[in-house]
């Protein structure tokens, strides 16, 4: 029997963008406010889990053609790579730097290397959580 869930699908197409916007905001609010890579990655993976629940696995894997295990591996490589990148400048492991730059449209912004590390953490969290959810749902 085919169950009609058109309301859920229509609502989800809007709500997913709200969740993704919140994830990006939490990711960028990282080093001054509550937020950061871990929480941003968790909210991002909750958006993916919502898509997997409302639609099905094959549709979403066709729409988002990422292997999430490779996403987790790429994130771990980025996070460790920023740690080892500190050795080039003869400073201890995981030393981070920041600076203030004048960009043409945004004005004076603060750019840090912590953001790259947080991006790696977020990718690891997204990959691991989505892989765990999909592995749990396999045996049905």
């Amino acid at each position: 029997m085919k169950i009609n869930n058109v309301i859920l699908r229509t609502v989800t197409r809007i709500v997913v963008y709200i969740i993704l916007t919140l994830a990006v905001y939490l990711f960028l609010a990282g080093h001054n406010n509550p937020g950061g890579g871990f929480i941003g990655g968790l909210v991002l993976s909750s958006a993916f889990v919502l898509l997997f629940i409302v639609f099905d696995i094959e549709t979403i894997e066709k729409a988002i053609p990422f292997d999430f295990k490779k996403v987790a591996a790429l994130g771990a490589f980025l996070a460790v790579g920023t740690g080892f990148g500190a050795f080039v400048f003869d400073v201890p492991f995981l030393t981070q730097a920041f600076g203030y730059f004048n960009l043409p449209f945004f004005g004076e912004v603060e750019l840090t290397t912590v953001t790259i590390f947080e991006l790696g953490v977020a990718l690891v969290v997204v990959g691991v959580v989505v892989t765990i959810i999909l592995s749990i749902s396999e045996d049905v």
């Binding site: 085919k2 169950i3 859920l8 709500v15 969740i19 919140l22 939490l26 609010a29 406010n33 509550p34 937020g35 929480i39 909210v43 909750s46 889990v49 919502l50 997997f52 629940i53 409302v54 099905d56 696995i57 094959e58 549709t59 959810i133 999909l134 749902s137 049905v140």
Partner: protein, 94 residues
Amino acid sequence: MINIMLTAALVLFGIAIFISLCRIIIGPSLPDRVIALDMIGVHLVSAIAIISVLFHTTAFLEVILILAILSFISTIAFSKYIERGVIIERKHDS
């Protein structure tokens, strides 16, 4: 005056959450428990909003958003489990 009203509202929200918890424990069927869980989520969101008014801070507003999103997703997951028996499907028409 406003502090007394907000504190009384917090106490009432606590009583409402306790009543919902009783419904989760003694609830005869599964949809009763799902509705009570969703009700606890809504009450927690409202209680956090009142706390952030009471403390004159905006640090808890992200908590409201994340709690609302997680409550929404968990309610959808429970509803789909009741309706279909599986939560994440493999094929489109099964």
